[in-house]
């Protein structure tokens, strides 16, 4: 009896230790991102890096639905853009009462369209940039998943939806300035110019905080029962359904969460870019988002962040020096990641490099059996009991 209690305590202790280590790492990274980098990098580079971090947030959302649930969305640009447009509309309305944003006069519009009205309020905008993409994603997901459309069909439909949204935003000059998009750089927030360095630095810190919070949210979602259900849906959906779960509901929910995350990322990206145009909803950009996750390693949250940063840094470096090479490189990246590194960098490190490195230093090989039979104290105890008899 006492030994049973002991194993429980031991396990709890181990878990607590792991949590502490993880929390320590996260705090250290947050410290580096939020305090050291702003001091080291010049303002222009910091702004660029802030944008990368915003993109890493989308990657987390995509990892949630692709890496864990197995749904490949090629339409995350929609939700990203919706979030971006929400904040841009709010910023555009920071003008004296009764005036219209200047582009409206170009097209002869003299009355603010009805859907612009609520964006006068800042709290509404904050809620809208999460809720609107989430609801749109949920609705789209519901219409698709309800009929058990899955796999590549789902991917194609999201891509088509993306094209549709692109066309819509691109064509409506009188409603949202069409192709030209909404410029936020020259607008004011709380009576400060958005492009001023103090505001940009605040946005950067805000991005870091959001990234960590959303990472923790995804971590919490994927580690518990919910996360195991998502993985089960990915691996064998039919079986999950036959076990009595409503997979449609779960899929809609996780797709909506992912859309909402993309919305937050879009808002943060927009204020740090200074403009949002419909080009953000191009087909290529949304597929690129997927490849960030694939490079880092799908099914690992940290992989999504690492992958985004690596690919974006490589893109900046290559397209600054050899603009022609970037597309070749990107194409090759797609091919190699899919054929040679299906689990991404983190997966490769976990499955191969870590074990190799351990054996180089003469450490005992970790057992990969699941659950780790040889190391499990309960099994050790049972074995002891058996041999004692």
């Amino acid at each position: 009896m006492s030994s049973e209690l002991n194993t429980g305590v031991y396990k709890q202790k181990q878990r607590r230790q792991k949590r502490l280590i993880e929390a320590g790492i996260i705090i250290a990274i947050a410290f580096i991102l939020a305090v050291i980098l702003p001091a080291v990098l010049p303002a222009f580079r910091l702004r660029l890096f802030g944008r990368f971090l915003a993109l890493a947030i989308v990657a987390l959302g995509i990892d949630l639905i692709w890496g864990y649930t197995g749904l490949l969305s090629l339409g995350h640009g929609i939700f990203f853009a919706l979030g971006g447009y929400a904040i841009a509309m709010h910023l555009k309305l920071q003008i004296p009462e009764g005036q219209l944003p200047e582009f409206f006069t170009l097209y002869g519009v003299d009355k603010l369209p009805w859907f612009w009205q609520p964006f006068y309020s800042f709290p509404f905008t904050l809620i809208a940039l999460v809720v609107i993409p989430g609801v749109v994603a949920g609705l789209l997901g519901y219409l698709v998943f309800r009929n058990r459309i899955k796999g590549v069909y789902f991917s194609i439909l999201t891509q088509a939806a993306l094209l549709v949204f692109f066309n819509f935003f691109n064509g409506q000059q009188k409603l949202i300035n069409g192709t030209n998009g909404l410029k936020t750089d020259t607008e004011k927030i709380f009576d400060l110019l958005v492009s001023s360095s103090a505001v940009q630095r605040t946005f950067y810190i805000l991005t870091v905080i959001c990234l960590i919070l959303i990472y923790l949210l995804c971590r919490w979602l994927t580690s518990g029962r919910f996360g195991r259900l998502l993985i089960a849906i990915r691996d064998d959906e039919t079986r999950v359904r036959f076990s009595g779960y409503d997979t449609t509901g779960f899929k809609v929910l996780v797709f909506a969460i992912s859309g909402a995350i993309a919305g937050i990322a879009g808002a943060l990206y927009t204020v740090q870019t200074g403009i949002i145009t419909p080009t953000i909803m191009q087909v290529a950009f949304s597929i690129e988002m997927v490849i960030w996750v694939a490079v880092g390693g799908r099914g690992t949250l940290i992989g999504a962040i690492i992958g985004t940063l690596l690919v974006r840094l490589a893109q900046t470096f290559l397209s600054e020096r050899f603009p022609q090479v970037w597309l070749f490189f990107q194409g090759a990246l797609f091919l190699t990641v899919v054929t040679v590194l299906p689990n991404g960098i983190v997966g490769w490190f976990r499955d191969y490099a870590w074990i190799k490195a351990r054996s180089l230093f003469g450490l005992k090989q970790q057992l990969i059996t699941y659950p780790q039979i040889e190391e499990d104290p309960e099994i050790q105890r049972e074995r002891d009991q058996l041999t004692r008899k």
Partner: protein
Amino acid sequence: MSALIEGLFNGISIGSVLLIAALGLAIVFGLMGVINLAHGELMMLGAYTTFVVQNVFKPLGEPWFELYILFSLPVAFIVSALFGLALERGVIRFLYGRPLETLLATWGVSLILRQFVRSVNWLLVISIAVFCLCFFGGMAILKRLSHWERIRNWAITILLFISSAISIALGFLIDRVGTLALTKPWFSARNVDVTAPTWLRGGWKILGFQMPYARLFIIALTIICLLGVYWFLNRSTWGLRIRAVTQNRSMSACLGIPTAKVDALTFALGSGLAGVAGCAVSLLGSVGPNTGQNYIVDTFMVVVVGGVGNLFGTVVAGLSIGIINYLIGSGTLALIFTSTESLKPLVDFFLFFATSSMAKVMVFAIIITFLQVKPAGLFPQKGRTAEL
């Protein structure tokens, strides 16, 4: 009345372009479940082949130049089919059973093809040739070694590294000493124009409107391709095998059908059809590196609506999407209702969607609604192999 017929004709002609582009895609998707995002780029390859054939025929003079389009069709088919074959053997066959990964890999191929067309010059071609020579030559030599299997991974890595180093070094060398003729891009990023031969210009006047000959040619070409594919699938031995594998892959393999060969052949056929489609598309406007992108999503919609593994479904889907698209986009539908005063809101509603880009919004909404009723397309596969 004449407006309606004109709308119908234009719709059919848009639909036939969609159909000829979607035909290859439908066959490949039906057989292998592979979504080929590089399909649009294979079309682009066909269109550029047409451009090259046209330039070859230009110096030959009058009677020959008029017929270049007929020669470029088989050439475009062969070029695209060969590229498709290489793609299948080189990449896709390693990814069967992982459709989402295939999708990403083909997207990578499409990116490479787009940039390739922009920056292809003799220098690049020579570098690639040298790379292939070094890599595959080295592989062929090393394969004779008795312990090949043991050193395989290392050998491939080292060979890859050495041959790319050689080809890049050679590229730099030629770049330094070579003439402008070697480094000048063939097509550059600008669009190129394919001039239709004189017998395809102008149109056929009937019932007060004009049917352009180029459109009629595309419709005829689509019909010929459809008949050809139908004959191939239903009357030839390989067609029988393709249909068998589409229905039940493992059972076909048990009965001795070489499924790997069937896959390669089907993929080559689908790619070749993309090449023919590209040839047709080049008659409609100028051709650029992004030509394929304009068609890719629409053709996928055709495949999704048509259902898998049924040519007839693809035909119906292609034509109806084309017709609906035109009727909404041109404002014909709005025009019909203007006569009745009480339908004013309906007219406004249709006028809102009466541009070609907004028509796509409407068509997508219709497709999503349609999929609520028939999730697996117009003619879904039946039987036990159909997925749950």
